[in-house]
């Protein structure tokens, strides 16, 4: 049996494959009239992929010839034009941004999804807790108690409001600035602290850097340091949900920088082609470490890319908790009901440094950072709205801030004292069962430790 070379076919499009398979029918597609019958029979015997409902019409056009103003190209009917014009590279106006509250927290429209009172208050409390957690953990890193930390300053509304609009069955594929989503879902402060200190109570067993949280109980997939790889994971998981017919969707978060990767492009394309229930949430906070968005892409942000992939998209004010909540609510409904992907671009500002390894005053003016932190603070805006609704008071504020601070400090103090994971955990979970080579390596390591016990750190248990 001859070995044919399929790679060449790889590059021939739909029409090419049609032509090569049709030639088996011994009729040329364009020649005889009776080939139309064979073509429709052939098409009907296959699934929708080969079926073109305009196949007959296509041949009518070709046979009529002459004065056609449109043609059924692969992909659909296209009208012709005699204008030699290029589509603009830069739009006259940027796509408008959906907003519900103004800068001082007053409602400017009624076009939003209503939030239950309890949910609204919980949202605010969690936003404050996130802020407190960020501040204190950041300080702890500066004091040398943990090795690394990454804050969500300026993105509290994105974190909490988007989480509040989802159900616990929805799967979250985070990047790294979404600890608030996990906080909303019930991850305790102690668990956060355990992961940052990498102690034996960490459900990641001390294997990842701080802020790389993960909890299958909360449907929050472990953070990986690789950029934008989680986007295609989310598409795959959404595919799994679609196969199971479940009433849930997946959501994945990424920043403006992550949208430059190949993984972003391919994942969005796949999601559109495969029609899976996934929400793509882009946190456009203006900076990818020191790279501003003007050096990252030249498109009008990320929202315009949705159209390029055939995905419904929206731009929202990321500092407006109610806007984010409404957008994610609607996106979830669309995703699940129609089993289609949705793209949300939340415009915000990264008010903190990229991480504890970064000093952003080196590449952007301090005044700019200060302005965003004060004038557009999402927590302040939401608080003003809550106050206006009679759901929050100054006293509640002071009490909350005090207790939050105490809780976080306590969690850190406890986590600091807990033992680290044992040496055994270096080797477990690489595979489901320990293979022989790893068993040998563990034995060899333990022997070395025994021989040189004075060189071995005392706070790591065997």
């Amino acid at each position: 049996m001859a070995l044919y070379l399929p790679f060449l076919r790889r590059r021939i499009g739909f029409l090419g494959m049609m032509n090569s398979t049709l030639s088996n029918f011994k009729t040329s597609v364009l020649s005889e009239k009776n080939s139309i019958t064979t073509l429709s029979d052939f098409c009907n015997s296959f699934s929708r992929r080969f079926y073109s409902n305009k196949a007959d019409k296509q041949f009518d056009f070709i046979h009529n010839g002459g004065d056609s103003k449109e043609l059924n190209f692969p992909g659909g009917i296209v009208k012709f034009t005699s204008e030699l014009k290029f589509l603009a590279d830069v739009p006259e106006e940027r796509i408008h941004c959906y907003r519900v509250l103004d800068d001082s927290g007053q409602l400017i429209s009624n076009n939003f999804v209503q939030v239950d009172k309890e949910i609204a208050v919980k949202m605010y409390k969690d936003m404050v807790m996130l802020q407190t957690m960020d501040t204190i953990f950041y300080e702890a890193q500066r004091q040398g108690r943990i090795s690394f930390y990454l804050t969500a300053n300026g993105e509290e509304a994105i974190n909490i409001a988007s989480a509040a609009a989802l159900s616990m069955d929805d799967l979250v594929f985070p990047q790294y600035r979404e600890a608030g989503v996990l906080l909303w879902r019930g991850f305790t402060l102690q668990e956060f602290a355990n992961q940052c200190f990498g102690n034996k109570d960490d459900n990641g067993k001390g294997r990842q850097m701080p802020i790389h949280y993960g909890s299958n109980k909360h449907n929050y997939f472990t953070v990986a340091s690789t950029v934008a790889t989680q986007i295609s994971h989310a598409v795959g998981a959404a595919y799994s949900l679609k196969m199971d017919g479940r009433d849930a969707c997946t959501i994945t978060y990424f920043g403006d920088g992550g949208t430059s990767t190949g993984d972003f492009h391919a994942a969005l394309n796949f999601a559109a082609v495969m029609e899976v229930p996934v929400i793509f949430f882009c946190r456009n906070n203006g900076w990818a470490i020191s790279t501003p968005v003007s050096d990252q892409f030249r498109s009008d942000g990320i929202v315009v890319r949705g159209k390029a992939y055939g995905i419904r998209s929206i731009r929202v004010d990321g500092n407006d908790a109610l806007a984010v909540f409404s957008a994610v609510c609607m996106a979830r409904t669309i995703a699940i009901r129609e089993s289609k992907p949705v793209l949300i671009e939340a415009l915000a500002y990264r008010a903190g440094h990229h991480s504890t390894s970064d000093d952003s005053s080196k590449y952007r003016p301090i005044e700019e950072i200060e302005w965003w932190r004060e004038a557009q603070n999402p927590v302040t805006r939401f608080r003003e709205w809550l106050r206006g609704e009679g759901l929050w008071t100054t006293q509640a504020e002071t009490e909350l801030r005090d207790s939050a601070r105490k809780e976080v400090l306590h969690a850190i103090q406890v986590a600091e004292k807990v033992e680290k994971p044992t040496v055994k955990e270096i080797f477990t979970d690489v595979y489901d069962v320990l293979p022989s080579n790893l068993r040998d390596q563990e034995k060899s390591l333990r022997e070395t430790i025994e021989r040189h016990s004075q060189d071995y750190p005392i706070d790591v248990p065997l």
């Binding site: 049996m1 070379l5 993960g214 997939f221 472990t222 795959g236 994942a267 080579n437």
Partner: protein, 364 residues
């Protein structure tokens, strides 16, 4: 031989043909219909064996699904998935756009959510585009999540040097992947082990990379009718012998067996082992063989630098140094991209005369 002993004491992996040692690795001559009908089992080609294994697993477990380019209606570039899309539908046999990084990532996400995806690289070389997903996510997420998320994927595809496919389509990815912690690698070489390894890989909870070879898809063999699953960590004893241990895998097995015919005529008695499991190595079977023969020859298709042979040489030296009477000889391809011209290509792959010469040298 360890694998035989297991069968006698009660097979872990279902029934297996006991005591069957394949002395002629290349498929048998055409049999007459009468004799064919009376023998047990059924005859098929290697790609059909892979498909049979795949189909049985898809029947058995509804979570098994296939992602790849042209695997659905086209049936796969080597017809391994032919007919499966019609039988199981578009959702379970999924045609993907051309983005290996993305559909491998999709498979990771789907696996973490409960599916058991099989990713087909149209040619193993294309999976280099998915390296980030395979090494940093597939191999790592079970570990970094503290065991919370498992990734039971199978990544498979044709690799190795074919007939004039050009450098980019002649990659031997086992050398690039062998370092990745968290994955297992196996290479099939006969219809029997292809089906068994495919089934074992699908049932494994770890990510497994199954290496097939472009030139072996049309090998014919008679395989059992009963269900069987092979072990992912076991090597296969192809021909027991006394003088020298020849370790090989995939297509080189056939070059070795051809050389073995010449060697037997010249009076040598080589022991040929198809290592099958590329990560981890089956050092038990290999070690027992070395303790018997004291001479090792490794024949591989990988390039000299950083190939499977290089790692195997290191592993054997470390573990069995005292049993060796001579230095380990490793025959591999040169460190060059595979040329297109047929004559040039032939000389980048280890040929039987070189194997014969190496054994003669080793046994002096």
């Amino acid at each position: 031989i360890r694998s035989e002993a297991r069968t006698i004491s009660g097979a872990i992996n279902g029934s297996r043909k006991t005591g069957k040692v394949i002395t002629k690795a290349v498929a048998a001559q055409a049999e007459s219909p009468a004799s064919a009908a009376s023998k047990p089992g059924h005859e098929l080609l290697l790609f059909e064996a892979l498909r049979e294994g795949l189909e049985e697993e898809m029947d058995r477990d509804p979570r098994v699904c296939v992602f790849g380019e042209d695997v659905g209606h086209y049936g796969g570039s080597y017809k391994v998935t032919k007919g499966l899309a019609e039988k199981y539908g578009d959702l379970r046999v999924l045609d993907t756009p051309i983005a290996e990084n993305s559909f491998t990532g999709m498979a990771v996400g789907a696996a973490m959510t409960g599916l058991r995806p099989i990713v087909e690289g149209m040619n193993m070389g294309f999976l280099l585009l998915a390296f980030n997903q395979i090494s940093d996510n597939c191999g790592m997420l079970h570990y970094t999540s503290g065991g919370q998320f498992t990734i039971p994927t199978v990544i498979r595809g044709p690799g190795g040097v074919g007939r004039q496919l050009g450098a980019e389509h002649s990659q031997r990815l086992e050398s690039y992947f062998q370092s990745i912690p968290g994955i297992q690698m196996v290479a099939c070489s006969t219809p029997y082990n292809a089906k068994g390894l495919m089934k074992a890989a699908i049932r494994s909870e770890n990510p497994v990379v199954l290496f097939e070879h472009v030139l072996l898809y049309n090998l014919k063999e008679r395989i059992p009718d009963e269900e069987y699953v092979l072990s992912l960590e076991e090597a296969e004893m192809v021909r027991p012998g006394e003088h020298v241990t020849i370790l090989t895998y995939s297509r080189m097995r056939y070059h070795v067996m051809q050389a073995a015919k010449t060697l037997v005529n010249k009076g040598y008695d080589p022991e040929v082992i198809d290592i099958r499991s590329l990560k981890p190595f089956d050092l038990y079977t290999i070690g027992n063989s070395i303790k018997k023969t004291h001479r090792v020859l490794i024949v591989e298709e990988c390039m000299r630098t950083g190939g499977i042979g290089a790692s195997l040489t290191a592993a054997i030296n470390e573990n069995f140094h005292d049993y060796l009477d001579a230095q380990i000889v490793c025959l591999s391809s040169q460190d060059v991209p595979t040329p297109y011209a047929g004559t040039l290509e032939e000389w980048t792959v280890v040929q039987p005369p070189q194997i014969v010469a190496a054994v003669e040298q080793l046994c002096k």
